[in-house]
Amino acid sequence: MNQLLIDYTLHLADNSLILGQRNSEWCGHGPVLEQDIAITNISLDLIGQARNFYQYAATLINNQSAAKVSPVGEDLEGAATEDSLAYLRKENEFKNCLLVELPKGDWAQTILRQFFFSQYQYLLFQQLQDSKNEQIAAIAEKSLKEITYHLRWSSEWVIRLGDGTEESHERMLKAIDGLWKYTGELFEASSYELGVAGNGTGIDVSKLKEPWINKVTEIFSEATLSIPGEVSIQTGGKEGNHTKNLGNILTELQYMQRTYPGCEW
């Protein structure tokens, strides 16, 4: 039972870390200074969420096992820490959904992905506030205040770009085309999500799909955009089967710790 909770906590942490890392690529490259600051502030919030989840996961792992090899990562030796979980796990040990690892693309793609994800997190964390697991509930309650900002900001930008110029509208259409097939995975429960939903720690993510679609439809209609029909969805990230993009991110993210193990500054 504890392994399910560890996997679930890592899944939540990985989602936030990877999207935070992706968004941080805009640092110094945003379309205007204010939006550069906005997207990097959002990165900071996401990495903060990840830290909270990793710290909790590390506690769970250390309580569970005195074994030499950690149950969650081959390269982890000794006690797990928030840093070892972020810097020393391999690609197939990450449990984030595919949506968050995709390249940042242009501003339209970054905005649309943030909107999809923030809307998902908003619905998910609202419910996790009432989780029977006190720490998950506390992290959700805390994060939700910031997610509310992320959602408002990204919703406004979807409308601004969708209902903007011919070019911005075109770019949004392209972003929808590229990202939509990755949204289905958010609502397809993995084995550990089902496990923690069963004991009141997590929730049944499939139930979030309808309210999510409704909110996206509402914002899209203001943005003069429409949601695509049925498409075959891409899944696997939650179980460790990733696109090549995750490898690229981890190469950069983990470079220092892989090259100079234990390095500090």
Binding site: I47, R51, A138
Partner: protein, 166 residues
């Protein structure tokens, strides 16, 4: 000095001297970051809460608290981070708000003014910390740190930081 010869109020008094590294005019007490102090036989536990989830100042604040209390003679000091209840600007002291304004940062408005802002809602009325005018507009919802937004005064034309209501 032993724990038995010092009371909680005195500890708060000493913690009052520790400032937030990003908003150095505010002490951690003004900000409402210190939630509780627990004293047991030989251990002093300080319970703190982050302002924002990703606030990078928390590690430094924890370290500074430890150093400050160690110089007072405490040997076993434990810093615990509590996330719930989530920090809110309602916990900022009146003294803190006064100091912020004097420093040139508009203090947070009371909470009820900004709950559930609608999309593209007009920015809340924020008073310019320099000339007290309410003719101001928001330049960016996100500012130089997670807790601030950027505003500009339409009367004196000065840009200024607003400590967001949270």
């Amino acid at each position: 000095m032993t724990i038995h010869t010092i009371n909680k109020e005195a500890i708060y008094f000493y913690l009052e001297e520790i400032n937030d590294p990003e908003v150095p005019v505010l002490s951690i007490i003004d900000l409402g970051i210190v939630r509780d102090i627990k004293m047991s036989n030989d251990e002093l536990e300080v319970i703190i809460t982050p302002t924002y989830t990703g606030c990078p100042a928390m590690d430094m604040i924890s370290a500074t608290i430890k150093i400050q209390l160690a110089t007072l003679g405490f040997k076993k000091i434990k810093i615990t981070q509590a996330l719930s209840p989530a920090w809110t600007t309602e916990w900022m002291s009146e003294e803190g708000k006064r100091k912020l304004k004097e420093y040139g940062i508009a203090p947070p408005n009371p909470k009820q003014q900004v709950c559930d802002q609608k999309l593209f809602a007009a920015a809340e009325a924020v008073q310019c910390p320099h000339c007290d005018s309410y003719h101001t507009h928001r330049i960016s919802e996100f500012g130089s740190t997670a807790c601030k937004a950027l505003y500009q005064c339409d009367d004196c034309k000065e840009p200024f930081d607003y400590f967001k209501c949270h």
